[in-house]
């Protein structure tokens, strides 16, 4: 498991790289240290050798052999010198700090002679490096450095009183100085250990630091993303990744959250339409199954009613059967109408009257529950064009909901009406949108705040995708199905025929960007800024129509209230807080009716204090 983690892999990769680099560095460093140390010793040995030669030269000219012995023995006693010896041309050791070997012959193949005598004829001139050698006397002995210094014939030698050397001789003998390298080797070893320790700790420290940062910058956010995908995979679409980073992974988290939100919205819509479709099928099935037995009841009872005109005692009962069967027929019909979301039949009506009629319907139920209904209706309320039956259903549902929220303890429902003028911006919905070739741009699949959006093809920076405009004029909150750079130029076109929707020569008065346009029949053209982030829109027909008159109705109760996290869900079909008591359709139906009237419904609630529903319906449809 650990081996599969991206952070671990990164750390190992960095560790291996560091290991190789530092090892090579340490090796080279150690070698050059070794070399320079040895060179230093060599130089020192050479100097020493020269000193020995020059200090004994005078004695040699005077042929003071005892003094030479003494000088060499004394110098050879020094700790840093292992041995000093002088050999003559024949290879006989004539002076040595080791008195025992004086007079012995040196083997020409021996380590001190090899340099000059390896070739057929002995060399007469040697470079400094060639004069030194490093060897071990015994395989287990410490290393030793030897330097030979040839003693050349000089005029003073053949003119000296002793006449020991003829003039023809070039090399008179060799001075051989050997020095122990035990100290140097110890230094080298210590340095080598130091380098190894440094290398290991550097690799370790580097890996650790890289590991910590990789964990913080990569592992943690990746794990967060992983956890989020798992949670969403498990169906928790409300899960959001904290967006507290500004790097690519932070951007990924943001995009991920947006994607989740869209997914959740799409899922909800799918869920809703699926539920509505099932309900439609159910209603159709129920209608068919129930209508056949109802036909039996209705035909026979109405037939009996016709035939028993002379039996008044039967007539009364039969009339009840016929009336109630016809009522059942209407219920089934309304079930079918609901499944098909019937078109409202709008006429001019007084909302106050509608509310009063709804109040009469629920009066008994409210009295039983000890709930008082207070009506504060504006007598000057203008008549509005509505489907009075549907609006009555809206108020009945709201009153029943309010009574349920109040519960057994009793309470008050306030219903008030008032008229107001509102600016159409941010309220008016664009219900039809056409490209210049008259293709429909309205998209029912992607919804913004539950309303269809306007789908436009966008191309920017080589990317192509869709932009979904909020159909509420001037409300902003458009969805972008494509990553758009706010500063890059964007091409907007009809998704069907790809005709450009950009208006050449026109620029946004707010930011100077390009402007798109489409037709909203029969109310002229809508224009808007093409730049992402700028919500400027213009719809002349609506802007010039001035304020629109609305009727507002508020239904306020002092019941249990609705928790904030439930507020967004209460208009969803089949969402119910009443458990077995409700079917979860009441508010969904209300929402549908208000939407069909081009109105708005909103809710304000506080747990324990109460709930207020605010409905606004345009006076003229």
């Amino acid at each position: 498991m650990l081996g599969k983690k991206i952070g671990f892999k990164l750390t190992v990769a960095v560790g291996v790289t560091a290991l190789v680099t530092i090892s090579v560095f340490a090796y080279i460093n150690s070698r050059s240290y070794n070399k320079s140390l040895l060179a230093e010793v060599e130089r020192h040995a050479n100097q020493l050798s020269e000193t020995v030669r020059s200090s004994t030269e005078y004695d040699m000219l005077l042929n003071q052999r005892e003094r030479i012995h003494e000088s060499i023995a004394r110098m050879g006693n020094q700790r840093s010198i292992e041995r000093i010896r002088v050999m003559n041309k024949a290879g006989t050791i004539i002076y040595s700090s080791d008195a025992e070997e004086i007079g012995r012959m040196v083997d020409k193949a021996g380590e001190s002679c090899y340099m000059c005598h390896s070739a057929g004829r002995p060399l007469e001139r040697l470079e400094m490096q060639e004069r030194t050698r490093v060897f071990r006397l015994k395989p287990d002995a410490p290393r030793t450095l030897g330097i030979i210094n040839p003693i050349y014939n000089a005029p003073s030698c053949w003119t000296a009183a002793c006449h020991a050397h003829p003039q023809s001789q070039i090399v008179l003998g060799v001075l051989d100085v050997t020095m122990p390298l035990a100290e140097v080797d110890k230094d080298i070893r210590a340095a080598r250990i130091e380098i190894v320790i440094f290398a290991i700790s550097a690799i370790f420290a580097l890996s650790l630091i890289v590991g910590v940062f990789v964990k913080r910058w990569v592992d943690v956010p990746v794990e967060e993303l992983l956890r989020a995908t798992q949670r969403i995979g498990d169906g928790d679409f409300n899960y959001r990744i904290p967006e507290n980073r500004d790097d690519e992974l932070g951007l990924l988290a943001k995009t991920f959250n947006t994607m989740t939100q869209r997914l959740s919205e799409a899922r909800l819509q799918l869920f809703q339409s699926d539920k509505m479709a099932s309900l439609g099928r159910l209603a159709a099935g129920v209608a068919h199954e129930i209508n056949n037995p109802l036909t039996g009841v209705l035909t026979y009872s109405s037939f009996l009613l016709k035939r028993t005109k002379d039996q008044p005692e039967l007539q009364e009962d039969l009339k009840v059967i016929v009336r109630e069967t016809i009522r059942s027929r209407e219920i089934v019909k309304s079930l079918l109408d609901f499944a098909r979301q019937s078109v409202p039949k709008k006429t001019e009506a007084d909302i106050n009257e509608v509310i009063a009629r709804a109040a009469v319907v629920v009066e008994n139920q409210l009295t039983l529950n000890n709930v008082k209904l207070v009506q504060e209706l504006d007598p000057a309320l203008p008549r509005a064009v509505v489907d009075a039956n549907q609006m009555q259903q809206v108020f009945i549902n709201l009153f029943v909901n309010a009574a349920d929220a109040i519960g057994a303890k009793g309470g008050t429902i306030h219903v008030s009406t008032t008229s107001m003028s509102l600016s159409p911006v941010g309220i008016t919905q664009i219900k039809k949108a056409l490209c210049p070739k008259r293709h429909n741009l309205v998209d029912n699949e992607v919804r913004i705040d539950g309303k269809p959006s306007i789908r436009i093809k966008a191309r920017s920076n080589g990317n192509e995708g869709f932009v979904y405009l909020n159909s509420i004029y001037g409300a902003g909150g458009h969805h972008h199905g494509i990553v758009l750079d706010a500063n890059k130029e964007v091409q907007l076109a009809c998704p069907e025929c790809s005709i450009s929707l950009l208006c050449p020569g026109r620029t946004c008065p707010d930011c100077g960007s390009a402007v798109y346009t489409f037709e909203v029949p029969p109310r002229g053209m809508v224009e808007g800024c093409a730049r992402k982030g700028c919500d400027w829109q213009r719809w002349e027909a609506v802007d010039t129509s001035g304020q629109r008159e609305y009727v507002e109705a508020r239904v306020r109760d002092d019941g249990c209230g609705i928790a904030e996290d439930q507020l967004s869900k209460i208009f969803e079909p089949f969402y119910s807080t009443k458990g077995q008591k409700g079917n979860g359709l009441g508010l969904a139906v209300i929402w549908g009716i208000i939407d069909n009237h081009n109105g708005t419904i909103s809710v304000e609630s506080e747990v324990g204090v109460g709930t207020t529903f605010i409905i606004r319906i345009p006076v003229r449809a």
Binding site: I290, L294, T299, K306
Partner: protein, 266 residues
């Protein structure tokens, strides 16, 4: 070939039983069939004045039965009945050749009104199809003009140049009613839906006959003439006797569901 009044086709026995009982009480002879196949078998040896057929049956559906009846040149008018009474089913039945549509559940009076209209419609169609030497002013019924569209034999539409459409009742439908006593019309600005009732004809016998609207849209004008004098509709159903001027909401898909009257004259 034995001649009977009514053939009722339904896979529910309670329906065929009820229809039989009600129509028999009105002195009509009724046969019942529980499937399309059984009905076609009966139709081989007997002829009927009217067929009442369910749309949802176990072997064939009502539309297939309509097509099969047309293929076999069965001239008997067919009334469709269904428990799944949607606007679509009603409109489709009428555009497939049914003379009327009755949604279940129905009362005895509703059934009898439809049955009587259906039988009368069959008689008139037969009369119109029979070559006669009578002068043209005694025509069985006046077919609608060629630029018109009709919803079954019930209502007609004339699309005007302004984009509005005139809507009225066909002469055949009016003739099937036993004396027109008056009209119940919807007010201006009402929305009407194709296949749903938009007006009622009150007959002299006290029955109410719903008129299905041939077009969806909003009523922009109601002809005041029928309210003042109901006979104007009977006298001139296609011109002076129009009922509504409608602003259509979905003209093209609606027209596809209608029968062009020019096809009647071929």
């Amino acid at each position: 070939m034995t001649s009977r009044d009514i053939l009722v086709i339904d896979d529910e026995e309670v329906i065929t039983g009820a229809v039989t009982r009600i129509c028999t009480a009105e002195a009509m002879s009724v046969d019942a069939a529980s499937s399309g196949a059984a009905a076609l078998k009966l139709l081989e040896s007997r002829c009927y004045r009217l067929i009442v057929c369910d749309i949802m049956m176990t072997d064939v559906d009502g539309f297939q039965f309509l097509a099969e009846a047309a293929r076999r040149n069965i001239a008997t008018p067919i009334v469709m009945a269904t428990g799944y009474s949607t606007v679509e089913n009603a409109v489709r039945s009428l555009s497939c050749g049914a003379v009327d549509f009755i949604p279940k559940p129905f009362t005895a009076d509703e059934l009898l009104a439809v049955v009587r209209r259906g039988i009368r419609c069959g008689q008139l169609q037969r009369l119109a199809a029979t070559p006669s030497e009578e002068p043209p002013d005694t025509l069985a019924y006046v077919p609608c003009p060629s630029k018109y569209y009709r919803l079954g034999y019930i209502s007609w539409v004339l699309v005007e140049h302004e984009g509005t459409a005139l809507v009225g009742i066909t002469d055949l439908f009016l003739k099937t009613i036993d004396g027109v006593g008056g009209f119940v019309l919807s007010p201006v600005d009402d929305d009407v839906v194709q296949g749903e009732s938009c007006a009622s004809v009150l007959s002299l016998d006290g029955a109410t006959h719903a008129v299905m609207c041939p077009l969806s849209g909003r009523i922009v004008e109601v002809n005041p003439a029928p309210a003042a004098d109901p006979t104007v509709v009977e006298k001139d159903p296609y011109f002076e006797g129009w009922l509504y001027r409608i602003l259509p909401s979905e003209l093209d898909p609606d027209l596809k569901q209608l029968i062009p009257c020019s096809s009647d004259r071929l």
